[in-house]
């Protein structure tokens, strides 16, 4: 009942693990897969290894968390060994792997994409991390021309579907969505974290995050993510994967009504535990049964006037 398809890839359910949560190791991905995710997404991977920002890399605020991990990863060449260790098992339990990648420019993105392609089912281009600096992440995703160039370069170099993860921190997300689809994006993931924001400790007068600023995730950003999905759906025809503040099956219904074919869950793991994927799927299924509808019936329903 929950099966969906995105760009020719079939998923047993539409509730995926988002990039950046429990994705640093193969073991962590395997655990999320066992907890019912329809797909798991790797930590964002680059060409070279990166330690990321100094701690604190996360702090709780009203309605969610700020984080500034700073794209830590061992480099794509070392990370593919993590995937080698789990991909047979994931295949057996029918959980797809999304490879999240970052780069400084179209060439760097494409190199990482080519290395990772044999180990994943889809790629997700992270052009939206709000705290990486150095020309990475949102510095690309806030510029339609640069976004277009990155996407079209990767699209030319790999065969598997390419999803592009967008930042909400732009004047008009529709403009970026159109640019990446023109560049050849097969699907859009929306949204990455909001902001960045900051938190200051009033006893010491110091910013709490090591990077001072961090992207906001969690329940408070759900209305913004939902609006972004709704707007993107209104201007492009590719599938959309909604992400931002999702913790229940009812949240998923909302995202589907806005136009998302699937969703990703990150911070929700904190609120409801590692088995949140099972819980959300159960709630979604209950909703569909009670209302006697299928996923395709509610997809984009909020656009019908």
């Amino acid at each position: 009942m929950l099966e969906i398809e995105i760009c020719g890839v079939e998923f047993k359910n539409p509730v995926f693990l988002a990039a950046g949560v429990m994705g640093e190791t193969g073991g962590a991905l395997k655990r999320m897969a066992k907890n019912g995710a329809g797909a798991v997404c790797t930590k964002s991977l680059g060409l070279e290894k990166r330690s990321g920002h100094r701690n604190p890399t996360i702090v709780e605020v009203e309605g969610g968390f700020l984080n500034a991990m700073g794209l830590p990863n061992p480099g794509v060449k070392e990370y593919i060994r993590e995937l080698e260790g789990i991909r047979d098992y994931l295949k057996k339990i029918d959980v797809k792997i999304i490879g999240s990648i970052y780069g400084r420019d179209p060439e760097e993105f494409s190199e990482v994409a080519e290395i990772l392609e044999p180990y994943v089912d889809l790629l997700e281009l992270n052009i939206s991390c709000p705290h990486a600096g150095g020309g990475y992440g949102a510095q690309i995703g806030q510029d339609p021309d640069l976004s277009y160039k990155v996407v079209s370069s990767v699209r030319d170099r790999v065969e598997i579907p390419v999803m592009v993860k967008l930042t909400p921190n732009v004047r008009d997300i529709k403009e970026i969505a159109v640019a990446v689809v023109d560049g050849g994006a097969d699907a859009i993931t929306a949204i990455n974290t909001l902001g960045p924001g900051m938190a200051i400790d009033i006893k010491t007068g110091r910013p709490i995050l090591g990077n001072k600023f961090g992207g906001m995730s969690g329940k408070a950003i759900k209305p913004i993510a939902l609006r972004c999905v709704y707007e993107i759906y209104s201007v492009v025809d590719v599938p959309i994967v909604g992400v931002g503040g999702i913790t229940t099956g009812y949240d998923v219904v909302e995202f589907m009504m806005a136009g998302a074919t699937a969703v990703q869950v990150g911070t929700g793991v904190y609120y409801r535990g590692y088995d949140i994927f099972y819980k959300i799927c159960k709630e979604l299924e209950e909703y569909l049964v009670e209302n006697n509808v299928k996923i395709k019936d509610i997809l984009g329903r909020a656009h019908e006037l």
């Binding site: 073991g27 260790g85 090591g210």
Partner: protein
């Protein structure tokens, strides 16, 4: 709220040439073996086990701990916790095996166990006499057997050799708890299995969020997180932690052999 609570350092106790205890101006409700993320503004935030309900005890081993050791009484640090699992008593007779700074969680556990009426024996080891930590605290809990690598005090050799000797004479222990260098703990687990005594170990890994979200301290092969599923693990869970005693990860997630 998962954010640091600022505490003032009331007193600093020099325990050994490389270890200091920082006594803070507030009391914490923690269970023995749990940890907190300690924040030094402008420096970093790292996990440390509680050494009492109002203190942390830190060995100088790197950049962060060196900055800790430079702190003065009256300075402020942030404390985020308590997090993770704790040592749990079992049976009547409990044996603690502690090596080096690993004495921190073990001493809080055996203190609680002895207070609750369990019979406690501890094997405490260090590289040399001056580095033996919390000797008096351990002694107050029950029998204490000291070991030094260089033979300057007590048994001349490793805690694990002493453990073998002890169990050969008397293996009627219901539980072994251990913390110390990972290779030492691995040996303790092997010995415990041989004598059919359950073991709890306290693991350490590079941590970032401390709350089971980022997955940086996730252990192969099943993704158990040291911060949330640990740091204290029962020996049976170790069967699913293939990296135990073999490798750990650095800040990038890259594997480093132990």
């Amino acid at each position: 709220m998962e954010r640091p609570e600022i505490c003032k350092i009331k007193e600093i106790v020099v325990e050994t040439p490389t270890v200091k205890t920082f006594i803070l101006d507030r009391k914490f409700l923690f269970r023995p073996g749990q940890f907190a993320m300690l924040w030094l503004p402008g420096v970093d935030e790292k996990p440390f086990g509680y050494s009492s309900d109002r203190s942390f005890t830190v060995a100088k081993v790197g950049r962060f701990t060196e900055a800790m050791h430079n702190l003065k009484e009256g300075d402020l640090i942030g404390v985020r916790g308590p997090y993770g699992t704790s040592f749990e008593p079992l049976g009547d007779r409990i044996l603690g095996v502690a090596g080096g700074i690993g004495a921190v969680p073990v001493v809080t556990a055996v203190e609680e166990f002895s207070r609750k009426g369990f019979e406690v024996t501890t094997i405490l080891g260090a590289c040399t006499k001056e580095e033996l930590l919390f000797v008096e605290r351990f002694r107050r809990c029950g029998e204490l057997i000291l070991c030094t690598d260089d033979g300057t005090l007590g048994y001349h050799g490793f805690t694990t050799e002493m453990l073998e000797r002890l169990l050969r004479e008397d293996d009627k222990f219901d539980l072994i708890i251990t913390c110390g260098p990972e290779l030492m703990m691995k040996k303790v687990v092997e010995i415990g299995r041989r004598y059919n005594i359950p073991v709890q170990v306290s693991l350490e890994r590079y941590m970032k969020c401390g709350i089971g979200l980022c997955g940086h301290c996730a252990l192969d092969d099943e993704g158990l997180c040291v911060c949330k599923d640990g740091p204290v693990f029962w020996e049976d869970k170790l069967r699913y932690i293939s990296e135990f005693g073999r490798y750990r990860r650095d800040g990038s997630g890259s594997k480093k052999l132990i």
